[in-house]
Symmetry: none
Subunit: 401 residues, 2 copies
Amino acid sequence: MVPLEEIKTISVISKSKIIMLVIDGLGGLPDDKTGRTELETAHTPNLNQLAKISICGLIDPVSPGITPGSGPGHLALFGYDPLKFIIGRGVLEALGIGFELKKNDIAARGNFCTVDEKGLIADRRAGRITTDKCAELCKLLGRIKVDGVELFIKPVKEHRLMIVLRGKGLSAEVGDTDPQRLGVVPNRATAAKSQAKHTAHIVNSFIDKASIILARHHPANMLLLRGFSKLPEIPSMNEIYKLTPAAIAVYPMYKGLAKLIGMKIFNADGGIKEEIKILASCFDKHDFFYIHVKPADSAGEDGDFTRKVKIIEEVDSVLPQLLNLKPDVIVVTGDHSTPAMLKGHSWHPVPVLIYSQWCRPDEVNKFSECACISGGLGRLHATDIMPLAMANALKLTKFGA
Amino acid sequence: MVPLEEIKTISVISKSKIIMLVIDGLGGLPDDKTGRTELETAHTPNLNQLAKISICGLIDPVSPGITPGSGPGHLALFGYDPLKFIIGRGVLEALGIGFELKKNDIAARGNFCTVDEKGLIADRRAGRITTDKCAELCKLLGRIKVDGVELFIKPVKEHRLMIVLRGKGLSAEVGDTDPQRLGVVPNRATAAKSQAKHTAHIVNSFIDKASIILARHHPANMLLLRGFSKLPEIPSMNEIYKLTPAAIAVYPMYKGLAKLIGMKIFNADGGIKEEIKILASCFDKHDFFYIHVKPADSAGEDGDFTRKVKIIEEVDSVLPQLLNLKPDVIVVTGDHSTPAMLKGHSWHPVPVLIYSQWCRPDEVNKFSECACISGGLGRLHATDIMPLAMANALKLTKFGA
């Protein structure tokens, strides 16, 4: 990929507008009986029509064979090398709920969980308690004091919370207390590097106090922390691409990531239909629009093939409204695959289409994993998508004489 | 790509011969009415027949989405990473006219231009004055003396000139005086780094004196400078590939670039027919031949779809003569796309075919943007072409034990 420093020197401001529609977990695997993936099963006349006048291909978010987390998957789509820009889970959660992280704050992602009488983890998500319950428990934990540090405990959604440590001499080099499996006791926080011993000690003090408070709040009778991290140094999309980008998303993590790279966040509460309404309402004020469709990934994670198909069909049904806005460039893709068959993220490359007046269409006339193999984009790194979108928007000048 | 240092260790000398035919700006975009690009519109029976027995694909000269200048586009074809080897425009112009640049010389590209009575740029090319007029004006400017520096002012072609500064303490870190737009005054030369202040001062002194002389030579009543640069450190093709390469080209810049990497230059004045004659005459003495076909790019830049089609057809018509020489390897490609629709270089990948006895042909039987998508080479970086050409010529031994 071209270094962002080089992109910076050739990007120009123009009136053209780019829409990047990210269907989270878009890629899938074929159903045993039909031999068709979720996307191939869905009835998607509008996506197929768009594919016909677009250039298509398949993208690897990180690298062939590598299953991306949501952070790396999205960073790559926005042109940031996910092997270079590492954003901790804790930081993402903090940004996602609008918590104003300071430069040396240490953030972690928390799960309320259920432990049995032996202290072994029985449910990593505490039966997915309500967000209200989560907020109530966070308030209780917020009363905990640990010497030498200021603590912030905030609810995220359902069983998810965020914790931030603010103080002197803190380090993010602390191992997860979440073992990410059942039937074992939570890990003690340990220092991955010696300068993190002080921080690990603080984390363990906090957890000890929290576990006493939570004991009587079954199923949320314990908590697990992971992804201790600090704000990374990352240039904004405006610095690199000279764009005024907007993000339309429901889930905190995606909004957090978008905010981190300088997008203006538009909060959506409903589904894709509401997101398209928001898009229309802010279309005049921005030149890049990231629209995030979360439920396709959630359905994949739940192993619900049929629900994922329906969500893709719902996206297809709103596509005409998006096209009516007449954006100069449209990118439709996903941040990774989430095959219902695997009930989780996977390494499979993700279909992508890029439409513009200048895209040089190929012969692909269906938007699917299989059809995109023979697309004009070939198989490429997800980090190539932004330069291609920018080029198609005529927002990149010549490199070299 | 494999580092050039590694290629060096596995390249071997042999009798086999490689021809690389570069149709400048080859790639295009489909015509609105026919849906066919310039190459797809052209009647090219010989190229199609060659594609049938070749392996085909699409190359990205720099990276997907990046529109290459001619320098980066060509360097990549010769196997040099264009993001690593940066050749300034001034250096290219100097080399192109056969000016013997010394190690610390500073070269710049100049344009004679027209300024109005307020000094605002009205025509960046001074109505494309004749090359004779350009030579006459350069001779006049050659009389200018500036303390502490030796100046060389040479005509290139039409409104284009080259200026070289030779002396102690000079730096290439000087900004362009050419603002590359109309209706503004030319920039003063400024130092991008403090060590370049002396050089910027010299440049401004020269321009002040030149503007007095040029005042009475409307439309060439001013000059603009850009691309201040020094010779880069770049290994020759002989060092890397152990080749004895020859370049057959008309336009100065391409000859300059070829010379920089150690090719022997054969000057052509006419079109592709003359170039093929030169090729035949020197075929015994070299083992790599770069043939440059400029007019396809010029037609694309002029937005002349039909002329570009005709030039591609002309290239097709001389192909049998090239094949008669029985080269072991033939590469046909371009250094970038120049769609007539865009009237300029573009980011679109460029069709490529590699013919040899050992090429492993695919099912492509037409040389076109669309057909090459399904070629056996897939979509690859232009820097992969030289290793592939060398391999097909059996000039690369095994890497590793």
